[in-house]
């Protein structure tokens, strides 16, 4: 009963699960997408699928920044770092992500100067500590992380720091949701909206999903109860024939978002005309580039970037899994050639990736199932 004891309020969990069963029409199959990789991780971690009735299917969305980054961008970043006196700085999440000729970690083993930073401002510190070298920060993430990079660029400019640049891979969540909704093989009934990303962008940017696409979306927290409550809110909307944006994560997410963060992003970034997403292909206006006023701190303007494009290994079906067309275990490589220890595709690298989450928690399923169903 380990996991059950950890739940903050088991009684509320039971009640939410019962309400889901009551609200779900047994003659209907519901497909709900959790957009954020953090939610995917939480859903597997808590074994929530086993609490839900069979006709509620959770589809894992594109909200894992490592997973949607095409391999060519990693190759491009590493090609800059191959130049003498360049330090490649990135979050730990990036270190095991495979490029064509190995991950940043493997490049480090071959002599590249690769460092983990936990904050973009620490990449600035690294540059100050190594004035004879150039520090390139490999920036990645959705709107959750982009404001931190924006402020870092502003600080670098204010301090006139010349041996620092950012290789910008920031992407935006709304165009990805739009691409998924436009995908012909995708039928969805509603969305569990991202939590921390919404802290920055707020809830307003989701309104078109409700208005134009007629789908409910509920911005959601990361506890089991948050997820179950959000599903209750979506089912209630569907039952009433409604489609609106609701905020289940009010304790953290303000409806209007974080204005200071949005301002810093607007000052330093502009939308790229298009950007390639792993599994989703090219999506217009879906990523950020650094504004010309910050060209000196933009690795893409400062260095020669080869612009490498790599197709995913044919056997790997990351794209289909990323779009929710295939379940992780339905991929031919899952658990055989592709494991968290030796990932072929990026969905297996990050713990937020649906393949890694599925792999890491599948073997615990039996335990969780027993413990949670005892509650429900």
């Amino acid at each position: 009963m380990k996991y059950v004891d950890e739940f903050r309020d088991p009684e509320l969990i039971t009640r939410a699960a019962e309400e889901i069963r009551r609200l779900a029409d047994p003659n209907r199959h519901y497909r709900l997408m959790e957009v954020c990789g953090g939610h995917t991780h939480a859903i597997y971690r808590f074994g929530l699928k086993d609490v839900l009735p069979e006709n509620i299917e959770l589809i894992h969305g594109p909200g894992c920044p490592v997973c949607v980054l095409p391999m060519g961008r990693i190759d491009d970043g590493l090609s800059v770092a191959k130049q003498p006196d360049v330090i490649f700085a990135a979050f730990g999440d990036m270190m095991r992500v495979p490029g064509t000729h190995g991950s940043p970690l493997e490049h480090k083993a071959r002599g590249m100067d690769v460092r983990i930073v936990y904050s973009p401002t620490d990449a600035i510190k690294l540059a100050k500590l190594n004035p004879q070298k150039h520090v390139m920060f490999f920036a990645i993430g959705f709107e959750t992380t982009a404001p931190s990079t924006a402020l870092t660029l502003q600080r670098a400019k204010a301090e006139n720091l010349h041996n620092f640049s950012v290789f910008c891979n920031h992407v935006t969540i709304i165009p990805a949701i739009r691409a998924i909704l436009d995908s012909p093989d995708m039928r969805l009934d509603g969305f569990i909206g991202p939590g921390h990303c919404s802290t920055v962008i707020g809830c307003r940017p989701y309104e078109w999903i409700a208005k134009n696409e007629n789908k409910p979306i509920v911005v959601c927290g990361f506890e089991p109860l948050d997820l179950l409550q959000s599903i209750v809110m979506i089912l209630k909307q569907l039952q009433n024939g409604e489609a609106k944006v609701e905020n289940q994560y009010k304790r953290v997410v303000p409806w209007e978002g974080n204005r200071a963060a949005l301002k810093a992003m607007a000052e330093t970034f502009q939308l790229r005309p298009y950007f390639e997403w792993r599994g989703l292909g090219f999506i217009s206006q879906s990523a950020l580039r650094i504004r010309d006023q910050y060209a000196e701190w933009d690795a893409e303007q400062r260095f020669e970037i080869p612009g490498i494009r790599v197709t995913d290994p044919k056997a790997a079906q990351c794209g289909e899994v990323l779009k929710g067309v295939l379940k992780p275990a339905q991929c031919k490589l899952f658990g055989r050639e592709c494991t968290p220890e030796n990932p072929v595709g990026a969905l297996m690298v990050s713990s937020e990736g649906s393949c890694a989450a599925y792999f890491n928690y599948e073997h615990r399923k039996t335990n969780l199932l027993t413990s949670i169903s005892a509650l429900v």
């Binding site: 991780h41 730990g92 936990y118 620490d122 690294l126």
Partner: protein, 112 residues
């Protein structure tokens, strides 16, 4: 130079999705964007630049992401968030991330 072992074991958690609660101990007099924050028992400098419109004061709780405070939260919600991280098996990743802020234990031996 970073010791190899530090880079060889990045934890499983996705740092880009982690939001870690911390309590503001003190705001630097020389720079209002720097706060000394108690995060999961460690004291680190956290950047308050993203809370310009809603400045926190000492004693407030904030959610921290990659070294930046991203929102103010209540103490109750902060404690719940800590529990959530524990339940998600992410508290170790959070501790590792926070330990790394300021390149602590990674580069400090090089600070002139």
């Amino acid at each position: 130079m970073a010791a190899n072992h530090e880079i060889e074991a990045p934890s499983g958690g996705c740092h880009m999705c982690l939001a870690i609660p911390g309590k503001i101990i003190e705001i630097a007099q020389e720079n209002p964007n720097w706060a000394l924050v108690d995060v999961v028992g460690m004291r680190r400098r956290v950047d308050l630049g993203l809370l310009e419109d809603n400045r926190p004061v000492s004693g407030d709780w904030v959610l921290i992401h990659v070294g930046f405070a991203m929102s103010k939260i209540s103490e109750t919600d902060a404690l719940d968030q800590i529990r959530t991280l524990e339940m998600l098996g992410e508290s170790q990743a959070a501790a590792e991330e926070v330990r790394g802020y300021g390149l602590e234990g990674i580069e400090d031996q090089q600070v002139p």
